[in-house]
Amino acid sequence: MIGAASALNGNISGEWYLALAAVLFAIGAFGLLIRRNVLVMFMCVELMLNAANLTFVTFANMLHDIGGQVLVFFVLVVAAAEVVVGLGIVVAIFRRRANATADDFHLMKG
């Protein structure tokens, strides 16, 4: 983050970072839609969260406001907690069946 901020002081304007974040976010969302492996889907969500983080930092820098950078920590903590629980659920399911393909789970529908 510090690195990103100092790079901004160079000649790359903030809009580029925002665009990058948007692209990362879109890639994450797209990945979630097309990938079948639950773990990879988690990773896609992480990518989306980090895109949001990047946006926070960029805006914080553009606005000269430390608040945006603080928000990132909250998001990081939450993301970590989320992953722990997610993996826990996957492990619990692994005990029943030995794969992690999301498409195998369609017992309930309609």
Binding site: L33, I34, A102, D103, F105, H106, L107, K109, G110
Partner: protein, 642 residues
């Protein structure tokens, strides 16, 4: 004790709940005793509240108890509130008092009935509903009670529903009352539209803003409700049929309390009537016409309860006439006195019917004074009271109404005095046939039984010797007889005892009485007494000696002026045809088709939605993304637009 007002309603309601939960287990006669105790307790609380109200001095002798906010929707704030003032207090006192007596009487009368606990269940619910009606501080609460008493009336008229006539009579009562309810609720809507509130206090404070035409409309719509509930022309025929119910029901609901609800309502909204002379005139005319027509019909009935029923209609006509004439206090006086003597007469007739093993035909009675002395004496007091013989209560109450009618318009008085003559006559006919003359109950059939006599109920077989009823039945008779005899004291204008002084604040003192000289009142009163005595004399003279006088019982009167037939021709038969059309064409083709079509459409939509729900996570995520894209697209139009 004023703050305990809610108990007056709550006690019968608790009684009702007890009957619902334990009625069957309590059985005969404990269930009846329990019901009586709850109503009696309600009466005791009422007396307490009455004395507290009496202790309040000053111009505004009233008390409002807001129990809870019932319908709080934006501008519409309807409270479940109770309003205690001299008017509602008067009603509460005689409703609870007479109800308690009639509950007591019913313990004996209903003995051995298959549905004994159910009877008291309905009766308690009725008392609670009636008290809600009386105590409500806004039109909607009153309406709840209004519907409640209507429902109970239906249930109780059709109490012996296995009897075809009783079931039909119940339906008839219900339908006539629904017509009235429609009028009531329309009046409430109109009032809310013009005033923005249903609270009586708010409505009356804003009478000036409503506009005379609207007030007249509201009053006339209310009058529709009153005509149904209080059996006024043209909605009165149900009351005669309602006599199919057990006699205590006739006494309580169809003589003393429920039918006076209409009169009470008109008194309650007196500021509106006061502001609309046109409506008041129509009310007076309807009352006068009803009083006269019903009295003529009563002259030709053979069923003892039918005579009393038409007599009730006639007396209610007097009350409505008084209200139309602006004499609310006279109307209330007659209402209270009528509750005493008509309740008494019905209970007495019940005692007679009981003694004769369910015989209701006057032509098969006779000479009962020998066999049922207590019933005879008490009934006799009721008879002379309603006939208007001084110094019994009826003389004072009816005299008050007639004096006011005179002051309003002499024509109204003429109708009134003639009706008074008829009243004395038909009541004497009834008494003559029942208590004097031959022991006709020994005959196998009634005198002239082959003549067209539609509805009188007969005993199943030969009647054994009549007997006096037990104390639970005679005690209420005695109490009511004392009240019917001495009720006139309410008229004496000493500051503390006078009914008129007591309720005067409610009506802001607009009595025609005030404008008459003492000598006029004396002359009119003397005339009343003379007319009453003449009527009694003629009635007895004619009917003690002979029981069959077909010339005096015109078919026209026996058939109630053919009101039922007229309704049948103009409403009943076309209605049946319309119903036929609806059930065959509209129901089968239009509605069933639409329902089936809608059902199929709904089901198909549902199934389509189920197919969308595939069970795959990525599909679900896709829908979220679709949502996001749609939202973005919309936001994009917003940015372009701006």
């Amino acid at each position: 004790m004023l703050h305990l007002t809610y108990l007056i309603i709550l006690l019968p309601l608790v009684g009702f709940a007890v009957q619902v939960l334990f009625g069957r287990r309590l059985g005969d006669p404990v269930a009846g005793a329990v019901a009586t105790i709850f109503v009696g307790a309600s009466f005791i609380v009422s007396v307490g509240v009455f004395f507290d109200l009496l202790a309040v001095h000053g111009a505004v002798r009233s008390f409002t108890q807001n129990l809870w906010t019932w319908i709080p929707v934006g501008g519409m704030q309807i409270h479940a509130g109770l309003y205690v003032d001299p008017l509602s207090m008067t009603m509460v006192l005689f409703v609870t008092g007479i109800s308690a007596l009639i509950h007591l009487y019913s313990i004996g009368y209903m003995k051995g009935d298959r549905d004994y606990p159910k009877f008291f269940l309905y009766l308690n619910l009725f008392v609670a509903s009636m008290l809600i009606l009386v105590l409500g501080n806004n039109l909607l609460v009153t309406y709840v009670g209004w519907e409640g008493v209507g429902t109970c009336s239906y249930l109780l008229v059709a109490f012996w529903f296995t009897r075809e006539t009783a079931a039909v009579a119940g339906k008839k009562a219900f339908i006539y009352n629904r017509i009235g309810d429609a009028g009531f609720i329309a009046a409430a809507f109109l009032t809310f539209d013009k005033v923005g509130s249903l609270d009586y206090s708010v409505i009356f404070a804003n009478v000036g803003k409503i506009g005379t035409a609207n007030i007249t409309a509201i009053c006339l719509l209310l009058m529709v409700g009153v005509a149904a509930k209080s059996a006024q022309i043209p909605l009165f025929p149900w009351l005669a049929d309602a006599m199919e119910g057990p006699t205590p029901v006739s006494a309580l609901i169809h003589a003393a309390t429920m039918v006076t609800a209409g009169v009470y309502l008109l008194c309650r909204v007196n500021p509106l009537l006061h502001a609309s002379p046109d409506a008041a005139w129509i009310v007076a005319l309807i009352g006068a016409a009803t009083a006269f027509v019903a009295a003529t019909i009563a002259c030709a009935q053979n069923d003892i309860k039918k005579v009393l029923a038409y007599s009730t209609v006639s007396q209610l006509g007097y009350m409505v006439l008084a209200i139309g004439a602006g004499a609310y206090e006279a109307a209330i006086f007659l209402m209270v006195a009528h509750a005493f003597f008509k309740g008494l007469l019905f209970l007495g007739s019940g005692s007679v019917i009981h003694g004769l093993h369910d015989e209701q035909d006057l032509k098969r009675m006779g000479n009962l004074r020998v066999y049922m002395p207590i019933t005879f004496v008490t009934f006799g007091i009721g008879w002379l009271a309603i006939a208007g013989v001084p110094p019994l209560s009826g003389f004072w109450a009816k005299g008050d109404v007639l004096d006011n009618a005179w002051a309003a318009h002499p024509a109204l008085w003429v109708v009134g005095i003639f009706t008074a003559l008829l009243t004395a006559y038909y009541m004497s006919r009834l008494s003559g046939l029942a208590f004097f003359g031959q022991d006709r109950w020994k005959n196998k059939v009634a005198v002239g039984a082959d003549a067209d006599m539609p509805d009188a109920h007969h005993a199943a077989g030969p009647i054994p010797e009549p007997h006096e009823s037990k104390w639970v039945m005679t005690l209420p008779l005695i109490v009511l007889a004392v009240l019917a005899a001495a009720g006139g004291v309410m008229a004496f204008a000493t500051p503390h005892l006078s009914l008129a002084r007591w309720v005067d604040p409610v009506f802001s003192g607009s009595l025609y009485n005030d404008h008459e000289t003492t000598s006029t009142i004396w002359k009119l009163s003397t005339l009343d007494a003379v007319v009453a005595v003449i009527g009694v004399f003629i009635g007895l003279r004619l009917w003690i000696t002979r029981a069959d006088r077909p010339k005096l019982e015109w078919a026209f009167l026996r058939q109630s002026w053919y009101f039922n037939e007229i309704f049948d021709a103009i409403i009943g038969r076309p209605g049946a045809r319309l119903a036929q059309f609806t059930s065959t064409v509209i129901e089968d083709k239009v509605i069933d088709g639409a329902v089936d079509g809608t059902g199929a459409l709904v089901r198909r939509t549902g199934m389509a939605l189920r197919r969308v729900q595939t069970g795959y996570v990525r599909n679900y995520a896709l829908w979220i993304v679709v949502g996001i894209v749609a939202l973005f697209a919309f936001m994009l139009t917003r940015t372009w637009w701006a």
